[in-house]
């Protein structure tokens, strides 16, 4: 098997150490970073997402695969940046103010990276003004907001309002997190909702591609 095939396997099986070592080996073999991403990591994560959608795997396996993918990307990201290569679409993502849960948000971020988005992660407990400033700075196509607490859902509504009023960028807003529903999404005027990281990828693609 080639290094890239082994890497795809390691990511799908969630073997983080192997994924890191194999990524290094691929780079040492002078395989282009873009090729590692496009031909290996993106298909591997797409496969993980598809299996999740078919209920063949659950959240735990997805988290483990994402961790392996992250190890690989940590080696590749600096090289892509140095070569001035940026993916076609950019997203910012963060957990809203008052909420420190970030495991689900991190998973969505990794799946988006796996779908070849450039993702700027603002972390957790992010005030509305910080979302606005980041959107003005990076001019992303997509903004992802996460909330895991019933009590921080109002902060999510507040953040959507602030982005619409102050960012001055036509960004699509996606929301998610355990207590979030499509109904809440409609109420606060966000553009899309996804219940899990698998559908978060499809929804994100659909939203950014809907913009001419």
């Amino acid at each position: 098997m080639t290094t890239l095939e082994l890497l795809a396997q390691a990511v799908a099986a969630g073997k983080a150490k192997d994924a890191k070592a194999l990524t290094q080996r691929a780079l040492d073999e002078a395989i282009a970073p873009t090729e590692i991403v496009d031909r290996t990591l993106v298909p591997a994560m797409t496969e993980v997402g598809d299996k999740f959608k078919r209920s063949e795997i659950f959240v735990p396996e997805m988290l483990i695969a994402a961790r392996a993918m992250k190890e690989a990307m940590e080696l590749i990201d600096p090289r892509l940046a140095a070569a001035g290569i940026t993916p076609k679409y950019t997203a910012v993502i963060g957990t809203v103010q008052g909420d420190l849960h970030d495991i689900g948000k991190n998973l969505v971020a990794t799946m988006w990276r796996g779908a070849n988005f450039r993702v700027i992660d603002l972390g957790a407990n992010v005030p509305p003004a910080k979302f606005v400033a980041a959107i003005q700075e990076h001019r992303p196509h997509l903004a992802g907001l996460s909330a895991l607490l019933t009590t921080t859902m109002p902060a999510m509504a507040e953040t959507v309002r602030a982005i619409r009023a102050n960012a001055g960028v036509p960004v699509k807003i996606m929301i998610g997190g355990a207590p979030i529903t499509q109904q809440f999404c409609d109420e606060i005027g966000a553009d899309g909702f996804a219940p899990d990281a698998g559908s978060a990828v499809d929804k994100a693609r659909a939203l950014v591609e809907s913009v001419p």
Binding site: S55, I57, F58, V59, P60, E61, L63, I64, R67, Q97, G98, D99, L100, H101, D102, I103, N106, A124, N125, L149, T150, T151, T152, A155
Partner: protein, 546 residues
């Protein structure tokens, strides 16, 4: 008085009585009194850590083990030395220093320390001589009626916290309580519709009129104590999660709207640590004896909100991991609390089917499964190959399930533990709810230990408290990864220690100050801010190999 005569004034005797001379060298005054047949309340095992053995030196001298001398009048810890030989002395032993309650297993909890009999409220035998120990949980409320003359529990009642109708987890209730009208509705739900009926029932059953209730002690998580007092809990709901109060409070029944007892009846709310490590855990750290342990000890309380406390040397580290209601039966297909008719244990014999079920007696039929049964199922399911590491029933596992025990619905596969009995169904979706709950607790324990530079093997004792009462099967809790890397000999199941601590504080007034000192001393660990928590949580999401 002859040379060197020592006399003791006991609370229940008119005249001071003579104490025999010390026989054993190095013995403490507490030892001598114990040998004379009147043991003191040496709660901490004579380590100088509690105040249980404090007596009054009225005349004479007391020589501490380290050679220092205290002269009368003084309050002395009887475990810390002995009376100076050859010097006459008079010592008064107050009632609170006498041991009246030995460590014991009570209905739903275990008390590992001794206690004096010195109720926290004034008692008038025959007219005002009973007390209430109350545990207000998010899901379950328990009231114990205590005879304050003997200290014994004469009745116990538990029921759902009626606030559940207004939101089944604390956050939903906090969210609602931001509005004063809803806050009052929540207060009434627990006071008028939950506690009132429970107190009436427990009194009726024991034949004790409400007028005889002299006072109450309440333990509970911080949110529950806010809602009980009508305090706005909004600041508990968003980072940085600040409580309005966590201190010990003494209120009157009238202030709390408890109209089923006299308006002046004192009600004590126990102190807590923080927003999510509440008075329930403080109560537990007293009643398990953890504060007096030498080695590293853990207290793990598995309720809707898993709370963990680590004692290591002089340090007390506390944290909360959001387990959710799964282990209390919440959001599971057939999940119930540990009530009559609940399956409490599941084991697969060599022939596998039908599995052996232990049902809590007292109901005509099986009503569902309680937390301990789910723990068994995770461990036994994995051992017998029904479940894979990811908690799913794979093709091989499925083929081994006889038709009468199979269950299939939109959520996937499942098993009927009893052939064709829908009350015994466990589905893959249930397992998927249990795994993050288990992982959150396991990762919380490991993260707290790591923070103190410890591993599970270093821990002397792990007290496991929680809604499962005393039912939990320890080897299964270890096998399913709920208590990762521990061995059965380290673990002691202690039941509802929140109620245990409330009872202890009710019968022995020296307990509350110790609770307050423990609460002031603890370091609160925020797991979100701990590097490594996320990784550990992800690692713990699977079932360990059998």
């Amino acid at each position: 008085m002859s040379v060197g005569e020592v006399r003791i004034r006991w609370p229940d005797e008119a005249d001071a009585v003579r104490l025999a001379a010390s026989a054993a060298p190095g013995a403490s005054l507490a030892d001598r009194l114990a040998r004379a047949g009147r043991p003191l309340n040496t709660r901490c095992g004579q380590r100088g850590l509690c105040a249980g053995c404090t007596v009054e030196l009225i005349a004479g001298e007391f020589r501490l083990h380290d050679g220092r001398v205290s002269a009368a009048p003084a309050a002395i810890k009887a475990c810390a030395g002995d009376l100076a030989p050859g010097t006459p002395a008079l010592v008064a032993v107050p009632p609170r220093a006498l041991v009246a309650h030995r460590p014991q297993v009570v209905t739903t909890f275990k008390v590992n320390v001794s206690a004096a009999h010195a109720p926290i409220v004034p008692v008038v035998p025959g007219t005002l001589d009973h007390g209430l120990a109350v545990d207000v949980g998010t899901t379950t409320v328990v009231v114990a009626l205590v005879d304050l003359v003997t200290g014994r529990i004469v009745g116990e009642q538990s029921g759902f916290n009626r606030q559940v109708e207004l939101g089944d987890d604390v956050l939903t209730r906090i969210q609602r309580a931001g509005d004063p009208v809803q806050r009052e509705a929540l207060r009434q739900a627990v006071v008028t519709r939950t506690l009132g009926p429970l107190v009436r029932e427990v009194g009726a059953e024991a034949g004790v009129a409400a007028a005889r209730i002299a006072g109450a002690v309440v333990a509970g998580n911080t949110t529950m104590l806010h809602l009980l007092t009508g305090t706005d809990p909004s600041s508990l709901g968003v980072a940085p999660f600040r409580p309005v109060f966590t201190n010990h409070r003494e209120l009157s029944a009238a202030q709390l709207g408890w109209d089923w007892v006299g308006p002046d009846t004192p009600v004590h709310l126990l102190p807590g640590f923080s927003a999510y490590v509440g008075a329930d855990l403080v109560a537990g750290c007293l009643c398990t004896g953890l504060l007096n342990d030498a080695g590293p000890s853990l207290l793990v309380d598995i309720g809707t909100n898993g709370e963990i406390l680590l004692r290591h040397g002089d340090r007390l580290l506390a944290t909360a991991t959001a387990a959710g209601p799964a282990f209390e039966g919440g959001r599971l297909t057939r999940g119930v609390r540990a009530v009559a008719g609940a399956v409490a244990h599941v084991a697969f014999p060599p022939a596998r089917y039908p599995p052996r079920l232990d049902v809590i007696p007292g109901a005509p039929r099986v009503v569902g499964l309680c937390g301990s049964a789910y723990v068994d199922l995770l461990a036994e399911g994995r051992r017998t190959g029904l479940l894979g590491a990811n908690g799913r029933i794979d093709a091989a596992g499925w083929s081994a399930v006889p038709a009468a025990h199979r269950h299939e619905d939109a959520d996937g596969r499942g098993v009927c533990l009893r052939a064709r009995d829908p009350a015994t169904v466990v589905t893959e979706a249930d397992i998927a709810q249990l795994l993050p709950a288990k992982a959150a607790i396991a990762a919380g324990i490991l993260t707290l230990l790591r923070r103190a530079g410890l591993t599970p093997a270093d821990v002397g004792r792990l007290y496991l408290a929680g809604g499962f009462g005393l039912h939990l099967d320890v080897p299964h809790a270890i096998a399913c990864g709920l208590l990762p890397g521990f061995e059965p000999r380290q673990i002691e199941v202690v039941g509802n220690t929140s109620l245990g601590g409330a009872w202890l504080a009710l019968v022995d007034r020296t307990i509350v100050p110790e609770m307050a000192a423990a609460a002031a001393n603890a370091e609160i660990v925020e797991l979100n801010l701990e590097p490594g928590f996320e990784d550990t949580f992800i690692d713990q999401l699977t079932l360990p190999p059998p």
